[in-house]
């Protein structure tokens, strides 16, 4: 396993270098001269020259890239233009909020998606299967920001059951924090539940046709035991892999969900940075999510090998 992980990390290095080149290149897409924007209305030539020197903009592009990447490797992703805080510190502050939202959404998705997928596969071809598929497809088709708006209208405005927006840290008030995050987590979790349901159904259909399930049934085991202990346990291999890979969807979904429910997390940080033209923050976020996504992919591969002994032997 260590050799496998070492090899995967080595393969990831060129990919990470390429991501850093994209992220750096994004800045070059900017229309106009960023120094002119920074220099203010007076555009004093001395100030412009000072800024060019300070940000190494007179250097060749390759030198600029190496200076930027060497800083990034030391954890210096630049300073936010708006808050004057280091970008990494800013990301570190917002990340726990999004992790709470993403974890709750994942729990909701697992609780809906896996049982629905198992039931749909078990009742293949019946109205239960048809209904589960329609609901899953609807879950995939519904824009989560619209679902959020509609839920605010129904649950908060009309019924008054849950708060429409805001955030309370878990450490301050545990139950209020959960209550505030419940609706956003449900909104974020529905799309994932649909994806999980479809993968679970597909994995279960494959497993339910296998010989060992037929043998288990022939031995007179109850259907519940066959389904849970024999079928689902083996179908879990692809499901765990897919769940790990849902990280990207969770982060992307969090951008809109946090915007609707005014949650001060990672997603809201991206949007605020975009509108404040805080490009160092945008670059930092894309770089961090890209690198994190690569590590999640490695984790998914590792989980696949741990769960599937046949892969381990190879």
């Amino acid at each position: 396993m260590l050799t496998f992980l070492g090899r995967r990390f080595l393969i990831a290095i060129p990919t990470i270098i390429l991501i850093s080149i994209f992220v750096f290149g994004m800045q070059k897409l900017l229309p106009g001269d960023p120094v002119l924007a920074m220099a203010g209305e007076e555009r004093d030539p001395e100030v412009i020259a000072f800024l060019r020197e300070k940000y190494h903009l007179n250097d060749p592009i390759a030198v600029q890239y190496f200076s930027w990447i060497s800083n990034a490797l030391r954890g210096d992703l630049g300073i936010s233009l708006r808050t004057n805080q280091p970008v990494l510190e800013l990301i570190g502050q917002k990340l726990p909020v999004t992790i709470q939202l993403a974890t709750m959404a994942l729990v909701i998705a697992l609780f809906i998606g896996i049982p629905a997928g198992v039931l749909s596969a078990y009742k293949k071809g019946t109205w239960v299967d048809w209904l589960a598929n329609i609901i899953a497809l609807s879950g995939l088709s519904i824009p989560n920001f619209w679902l959020g708006i509609m839920l605010i209208l129904l649950v908060s405005v009309n019924l008054g059951w849950l708060p429409a927006s805001g955030y309370r840290p878990l450490t301050e008030d545990f139950w209020l924090s959960i209550k505030t995050m419940l609706m956003p987590a449900f909104v974020l979790g529905t799309g994932l539940a649909a994806t999980l349901m479809r993968h679970t159904r597909s994995a279960m259909l494959g497993v339910l046709r296998s010989d060992y399930v037929r043998t288990a049934r022939a031995k007179g085991m109850s259907e519940a035991t066959v389904l849970v202990n024999h079928a689902l346990r083996n179908a879990m291999v692809p499901i765990v892999t897919v769940t790990t890979l849902l990280f990207g969807e969770l982060l992307a979904g969090a951008v809109l969900t946090e915007q609707i429910f005014t949650i001060p997390g990672f997603g809201k940080l991206v949007v605020d940075a975009v509108f404040n033209r805080d490009y160092a923050v945008v670059q930092g976020i894309v770089l961090c999510t890209g690198v994190a996504f690569i590590f999640m992919n490695i984790l998914a591969d590792a989980a696949y090998r741990v769960l599937n002994p046949r892969m381990r032997d190879k």
Partner: protein, 293 residues
């Protein structure tokens, strides 16, 4: 003897089978049927927008601000008295255009790179694959948001941003499919008779990798429509006063208590058109995929 005489006929039957089976499966697929109807409806409405007897989508009426649905305004009016039905119909044009154009960008850029990687293999494949992996590493929407932010807010830039973000998906599919096709006997035969690289790609590879790309394109149009609506919702897409479902929802969220219809119709439209493309994509996949799951 009889068996030998029948062999060509059997081969013809086998050769004709996949296409007729595809047609039969597609026409009998309920999901493809309903998906097709939904997509067709929105396409027709969007195309007919200029000639339909509807109000000007950007004309304001300060005497009809946030009016609920009536016979004069079947979908109500918005916060500055514009007709919601008209804005919905014109918004369909923006959404469908964004969905189709961004996927066209992704296919036109992604497929050649994918075919090149799968056909040439070696270092070409290594470079293209690493490039694809790097692009796939950033979550689709975050990449699209970042690109749209750097290029500036407009529908055109959003289409480019979504197209570039979706491109690696098509590189990967085209590469994988090309590699699979390259192992087929007819490629070996084509090589043996001295067919050039261009003709090989054009006549043998592209037609055979087309079905999975078509399925993915249909499903990606659905994702692209949601992405366009999301970016417009965030204010990065279609700029006011031009209508777009996403930007209509962005405004509507400020008037939820006073005018809930402002949020209901644009969201429902996005849902229905995306559902249509997803159903159609699923139907196409079932019809083209020989594995039955």
């Amino acid at each position: 003897m009889t068996a030998t005489a029948e062999l060509p006929v059997q081969q013809d039957a086998v050769a004709a089978k996949p296409q007729s089976r595809f047609r039969k499966k597609l026409t009998s697929s309920r999901s493809a049927f309903f998906g097709g109807i939904l997509v067709l409806f929105f396409v027709v409405v969007a195309l007919l927008a200029p000639i339909l007897p509807i109000a000007d989508p950007i004309a304001t009426d300060w005497l009809a601000v946030r009016k609920p649905p009536t016979s004069a305004h079947p979908f109500g009016t918005d916060e500055i008295g514009r007709d919601m039905l008209s804005r919905m119909i014109w918004g369909a044009r923006a959404s469908l255009l964004a969905g189709v154009i961004s996927v066209a960008i992704a296919v036109l850029l992604g497929v050649p790179f994918g075919v090149l990687a799968g056909y040439c293999r070696g270092w070409t494949d290594t470079v293209i694959s690493r490039f694809t992996e790097a692009l796939l590493a950033a979550p689709f929407l975050i990449l699209a948001i970042a690109l749209a932010a750097f290029m500036g807010p407009s529908l055109r830039n959003v289409m480019i941003a979504i197209g570039l973000s979706a491109m690696p998906l098509f590189i990967r599919i085209a590469r994988g499919q090309t590699m699979a096709v390259m192992t087929e006997d007819y490629i070996e035969s084509a090589r043996a008779i001295g067919i050039g690289h261009g003709a090989m790609v054009w006549r043998y590879i592209l037609p055979n990798i087309f079905p999975p790309i078509l399925i993915q394109a249909t499903l990606t149009i659905a994702t692209a429509i949601i992405a366009e609506a999301s970016l417009s919702f965030l204010g990065l897409g279609q700029q006011p006063p031009a209508p777009s479902w996403g930007s209509m929802l962005n405004t509507a969220k400020n008037f939820l208590e006073q005018a809930p219809w402002m949020a209901l119709y644009p969201g429902a439209s996005i849902f229905l058109v995306v559902l249509g493309f997803n159903l159609l994509g699923d139907g196409l996949r079932d019809a083209l995929d020989p594995r039955e799951i």
